[in-house]
Symmetry: C4
Subunit: 211 residues, 4 copies
């Protein structure tokens, strides 16, 4: 894992770029979605989108820096209500960046799938996920029920991450996708790959092959 | 509710921005859709898109200012034929901006839903609606039959708004969506959230989960 | 009908704009689609896209001027193989501009509809069509079988236009949509409206309302 | 076939343009997809995208020049893992450019089609393929099973190309589309045409015509 040395201001600008791109694809409409990147590890400092911001107009000054308890250390605004989820992922996965999107297909698949996760298997696109070398890979995306208080639910998220050490992301039911990476570019790549595969699986269910 | 103090020229430019963005997403093709924002409350003055304008080329000089009777007070052009609907909403909801889109999915869902409204419930995205704090919210979007003369139908619209004081928008059958907000940015956020949820509900009906 | 007085160079630039916009929406991928506008009525001169041109890169110098027999009078390149269709429409409808798109949904609907036309009825969006004042309008889009030689088939197209004097466009089976207008802006508006309605009708058939 | 004389630097810039366009349409998300063009025939030199590059940010300096054994001759980076597939196609078809995309619909259709190929027949859009003069053309896109080692599988690809001398492309199961052209502009046109037709065939299966 490379050292994290990018400055807060640089990361904030890069997070805003990624956020606007997710908005353009329809994965972060309204004020939905939130995005973060690690500024320093010790002490832990996270750059994260402020709450209630239009992702189509996202700019670097709408990113705040928080400490490991979620307290704002730099920038103005309230951190996303899901900041504790980002912090939990950063700690559990040693991630350098965490991206959370609300797409049409992740909303539908997390709603309709009766199981506690979604299996994605046998697609070439899986090779874009960190460490995956073969299309024969089977990715299991856990699905968590949605809650109001993510601070209180953090231990449950941590338990899911521990139980599924190979998962590259997870879904929250009727809510959206979380994924992460060693750095922001890798997390951006993974959000595109997982959203692509989720859309493939959703659209496949709308085709009538015998017709 | 904040005081409304933005000038007509500023609001006209901002309405044109929002209109072109709706066009880009396919929610206001051709000359469809119309958009308004309150310039002053007392006396009531509304900035509203002129009729018959290409929303992909929308500019501030295609917005007119009207009084509470729909008479043009500034700018050139005929106000949208649905101006009386905008005025009714502004009065009934104390809204600062009203947005009306014609999307593929709002057209289909308003057509096919047999009931007098569409229930949307349990989605995280609902929390982007004004005053909604939990994904367990149940949004009821009333569906009105389409008519030719909205001036004559204004009392009917007002009655629906009164009967459903918590609704954040309504659908007109085979026509499209109306939503509003305290100010333009909030209305823009709500149009994105409602169009997203309507698309989710429409696409969900196209998936065969057992297949 | 307004006099046609715009110069060939101006029209060529405007046609290129419209063509690139159709390409961006996926209605003229590859070299598909062709677009024309009347330069003068007497003698008849038509500005029309040259054959084999990438619509995503379309520029004014890829538009040629032809006479009423399809002979190139200005510009370089071969006129579209469907130039005779454009000339037939311009004569039969006194159109000032003709637009032809190849969209996903017009391809599917023209293929699957067993009848000799597609009825579109009861949608607000219909009011964007020239002369339509009510959503209760019933638009009948004739569907013609595809052929190789449109010069030879011109009388058949003319007969369809005569038999359906109120049609604002027609479909060619497994091929695409033709529409027109008094001038280019109106034709552009109509292509957006008809493509929108065709997509609504296609997607509606993919929804399972009872599910 | 025209002589190939464009310089490596020029071709690299043009390949980057085409790659970003494919990314924008959702056909090369994440680091998926790879693109090449012939710099010289004798000795054979190919400009090809480096491995692991974000196609949304693709620039000319992320293209490398390789020889007929896949060895890097200019530029920095590792050539795509599928370089041997590109070289095989260039030799077997005398192609000047090869484009490989990962779209939603090519992934779904290559997965669900039980046969060893996909027949596409009777569409006007087919006339955009090199040498096709009539919409009555029947295109057969062979479907190959996906493998890990394309260098070892090259003879199998060559055998498929020999067995289907008229094919303008092929699919790899759950992976994507390969197509090619005499030069880059023609290959770009063909990727748009084949992706369009594959999407038509996929969406057609999601419509219920009797409903």
């Amino acid at each position: 894992m490379p050292a994290v040395s990018t400055s807060f201001a640089e990361l904030a600008g890069e997070l805003a770029d990624v956020g606007r791109q997710c908005y353009a694809r329809g994965w972060a409409l309204g004020t939905s979605g939130n995005f973060s990147a690690v500024v320093s590890r010790d002490p832990l400092r996270l750059a994260i989108t402020a709450s209630g911001v239009d992702k189509g107009l996202l700019s670097g000054d709408q990113i705040v820096e928080i400490d490991d308890g979620g307290k704002v250390m730099a920038g103005s605004g309230t951190p996303s209500a899901e900041a504790s989820l980002h912090l939990t992922i950063v700690r559990a996965r040693r991630a350098g960046a965490v991206l959370h999107t609300h797409s049409i297909w992740s909303t539908i698949l997390s709603d309709r799938t009766p199981d506690e996760g979604l299996a994605i298997e046998g697609y070439e696109m899986l090779k874009g996920l960190d460490g995956v070398r073969s299309h024969e890979h089977r990715e299991w995306l856990p699905i968590l029920d949605n809650v109001q208080d993510w601070r209180a639910a953090a231990p449950r998220v941590e338990a899911v991450l521990t139980a599924h050490p190979d998962a590259h992301g997870f879904l929250i039911r009727r809510h959206g996708l979380y994924t992460w990476g060693r750095h922001l570019a890798q997390a951006k790549r993974q959000v595109e790959i997982l959203e692509f595969l989720i859309e493939v699986m959703g659209r496949k269910r709308g085709t009538a092959w015998q017709a």
